[in-house]
Amino acid sequence: MLTSYPRLRAILLRVAQAVPVVVGVVVISFLLTRALPGDPAVYFAGVAADEASIEETRVAMGLDKPLPVQFVRYVGDLLQGDLGQSLSSGRPVATDLASRLPASLELTLTALILAVVIAVPLGVLAATRPGTWVDHLCRVVVTAGVSLPTFFTGILLIYIFYYLLGIAPSPLGRLDFIYLSPDHVTGFYLIDAALMGDWETWRGAAKQLVLPAATLALFTLAPIARMTRAAMLTALSSDFIRTARAAGLSRRAVLYRYALRNALLPVVTTLGMVFSFALGANVLVEKVFAWPGIGSYAVEALVVSDYAAVQGFVLAMALLFVLLNLVVDLLYTAIDPRIGFDAK
């Protein structure tokens, strides 16, 4: 039956190919967390713990067992969908991820959309008018974007728009405290608030999102703009564009139907990459804006050797990237029909 749906078959095949990757990630993340410096039992036994209470903690955490036993137990729990209990947050890792991953994704996706909306037109304009002020502007924005670290941009934006001008809301995370968070459906506050029809909260969440998303967008638009410009320049100087122009196609058709569409492939690739490192760069933005995201969660878990949380984070990220790669590949085939799954 699947043969009659080649695309579905291809997707399933890709998903099946991801299984060994995920298994590898499970093993490696388990081993790497155990290789972390520090003894979580000592850390979690508390400030004034003596050796007996450290030992009690170790037993309670299951860390007294040999590594293979711990691993089998971990995999067993994992198969039942149990990611374990985070010791630093005191909640199941799955719950933590469910509340924090959407926060990070909402921020990153908003920033990416913002970046694409600015960077792609900027890149196109710069490519069509090389050497003009637009091109220079593009270069300045790109240079500024990559050279300003996000925590600096973040603090600068807070200083100007919140501290001096007072037009931005207080950088207190996803929602100011006068709002209640919307009921959890997707975990994306903008979507959840819209689903509830609670536009007051929606506006509150959107306002909180502006500064951190702008910070992250400034950082991510640089590679996108650069890549758009370069790809457009290549496309515009290629033979088929010359042919199209010679055939008398309108400037608009040449630019958008032929040049941009061909230039989009590398841009989509860059987008996939930018998305992955933006999730990493999030950590600093999250700290500055008190954003309860996954980056700061992972860093804190790492610092205290909170095994379950780190493993859960790595696994969630691995699954996210498998998904992301799939989406990027699907986008390829949508943009360029010549690329089929079979070719891969």
Binding site: T57, S99, I155
Partner: protein, 535 residues
């Protein structure tokens, strides 16, 4: 939001403009203006139950604000620094009165007759017993802390009748009463907890972890770990004067720069535990309280397991080489108290005290020349990356100064997760920085943890037979005993002469307020929300 409309003003404007806000729909009392206080802190509250393994320090505040103890401490003024708890005055919280038997072995507490839990049930001695049993049975930190006051086994706790609770001690100790006023022995609604206890979890650790069941001044209205905790006042509280704020919101903001911007703008009323640098700079514009932390010392510790440090002249050379003033300014921005340049003669039992040492390179060189290591040696100086804000500048200054007397120091930075194991458990760091502070404010208690052989905070592997005997003798002795002061003075004398720990300065806990008053410092270094008031 413009300059004129800060959040406070906004709430003050009342229901007229704010009636559309969902928050007010759910919690209409917020429209009353001064009723809500917002506090920002950098630390994470990861559990609502202090007795649980892995509960972070910041979470202790739930134990303080949501639960009651039998006893609490009084309040005193700290000159120039607002209010502080008063170790010397013990006041009732859930107990109405208490008495100590003549031999000091039996403590009898009468509970307040009108004390109720949040669910309306009367607080009984059985609840107290269950809570104390729990604290001594769950292991880990709470059990260790209970032990410090001589509270070790459930058999010691007797619920005589509903209103009478008795503690039987193995030996009289001056630490027992104060230890009942620390955050650990709080009283839980045992009936509610037992409903949720299971065979695997007889102490309802899972339930109380997320759902406090107490009688305290505040209930937890909302808790989003990693984001915020919202306290809602319990109007039936009898443990003390009713708190002024109806609601206190604790918001977690990891970046110190952001916390500072928030409190400067007045959008939050309290910034708790701010860095020394911010405290020094904000002191001119806001109310900043920098209370020296009682019984806490930032120390440079030469480890006796490292051979050159067994030479007393080497340790003294270091003590004279350390640039105390520079460290105090660079690492603490002058917040806290200096602990150098005192007199050698010990006339009182105040601790921490100024040592007889001061920066004098000539003296340092003299001692080095006298020692068996006149030509110097190499040593790593270890610091924790988690505590880098004070340890890093301190280490750099120490490195520079010791270089001048021939000790070649390399700085070793240890990740936070590794630090406790290396410094306190394995005690393997030759030269390191350490910052122990004791909750119970007596010198003998400090010495018990930091100078006795094998004890956790004795990271220098120091052992002195006389100190061992003196600590054992003084630990439970009443402070007005005529034997007490001379023995304590002798302890100081030995410790400051032998220098297993070289005191650098006494750190401060910094709190900035903008629109709130009544802040009170506590030894546990967490926020007591009950005394805060909006202005």
């Amino acid at each position: 939001m413009t300059d004129q409309t800060s959040r406070r003003n906004f709430l003050k404007m009342g229901a007229a403009g704010a009636s559309m806000l969902p928050f007010l729909r759910v919690m209409p009392a917020a429209a009353q203006g001064n009723d809500t206080l917002v506090v920002v802190t950098g630390a994470t509250i990861n559990s609502l139950d202090l007795h649980r393994t892995g509960t972070s320090r910041a979470s202790y505040q739930v134990g303080i604000n949501c639960y009651d103890r039998l006893l609490t401490f009084g309040t005193k003024e700290v000159p120039g620094n607002g209010l502080s708890y008063d170790y010397s005055v013990v006041e009732p919280e859930l107990a109405e009165s208490w008495s100590v038997s003549d031999d000091g072995m039996t403590l009898t507490f009468k509970l307040k007759p009108n004390a109720t839990f949040w669910d309306g049930r009367k607080v009984t001695a059985a609840d107290v017993k269950w809570s104390f049993d729990r604290a001594v049975s769950v292991g880990g930190f709470p059990t260790v802390q209970m032990k410090a006051g001589g509270l070790e086994r459930p058999e010691q706790f007797i619920a005589e009748d509903d209103a009478t609770f008795v503690i039987k001690l193995d030996r009289p100790s001056k630490l027992t009463i104060p230890d009942l006023a620390v955050p650990v022995p709080y009283i839980i609604n045992s009936v509610e907890a037992l409903e949720h206890a299971t065979d695997d979890d007889p102490w309802a650790l899972e339930y109380l972890h997320t759902t406090p069941a107490g009688s305290g001044a505040y209930k937890v209205a909302r808790w989003n770990p990693g984001e915020q905790l919202v306290y809602e006042r319990n109007d039936d509280w009898v443990g003390g004067p009713l708190p002024a704020a109806q609601r206190v919101i604790i918001r977690e903001v990891p970046s110190p720069a952001t916390r500072r911007a928030l409190v400067e703008r007045g959008d939050v009323q309290v910034a708790f535990n701010i860095p020394d640098k911010d405290a020094a700079e904000l002191a001119e514009t806001l109310d900043v309280f920098s209370t020296p932390v009682e019984n806490c010392i930032h120390c440079l510790c030469p480890n006796f397991a490292f051979e050159p440090f067994q030479d007393p002249d080497v340790r003294k050379a270091i003590a004279y080489a350390v640039p105390y003033e520079d460290i105090f300014q660079a690492a603490a921005f002058g917040r806290g108290l200096p602990l150098w340049g005192g007199s050698e003669e010990i006339t009182d039992t105040a601790w921490p005290r100024k040592t007889q040492y001061y920066t004098d390179l000539d003296k340092a060189k003299e001692h080095m020349a006298k020692s068996g290591y006149a030509e110097g040696f190499d040593v790593p100086l270890s610091i924790s990356l988690d505590l880098a804000s004070w340890m890093e500048p301190t280490a750099l200054l120490v490195q520079e100064a010791l270089g001048k007397i021939g000790i070649n120091v390399t700085i070793e930075k240890i990740p936070g997760a590794n630090w406790r194991t290396a410094v306190l458990v394995e005690k393997r760091l030759p030269l390191h920085l350490e910052n122990f502070g004791g909750w119970l404010n007596t010198p003998d208690y400090y010495f018990f943890w930091a100078y006795k052989d094998g004890h956790l905070f004795n990271s220098s592997n120091y052992r002195n037979e006389e100190i061992e005997a003196l600590v054992d003798a003084t630990l439970h002795m009443p402070m007005d005993d005529p034997e007490y002061a001379p023995q304590i003075k002798r302890m100081f004398e030995i410790a400051l002469d032998e220098l297993p720990r070289i005191p650098l300065y006494q750190p401060a806990l910094n709190v900035a307020t903008n629109g709130a008053e009544g802040y009170e410092f506590w030894f546990h270094r967490q926020l007591d929300a009950r005394v805060l008031k909006a202005v």
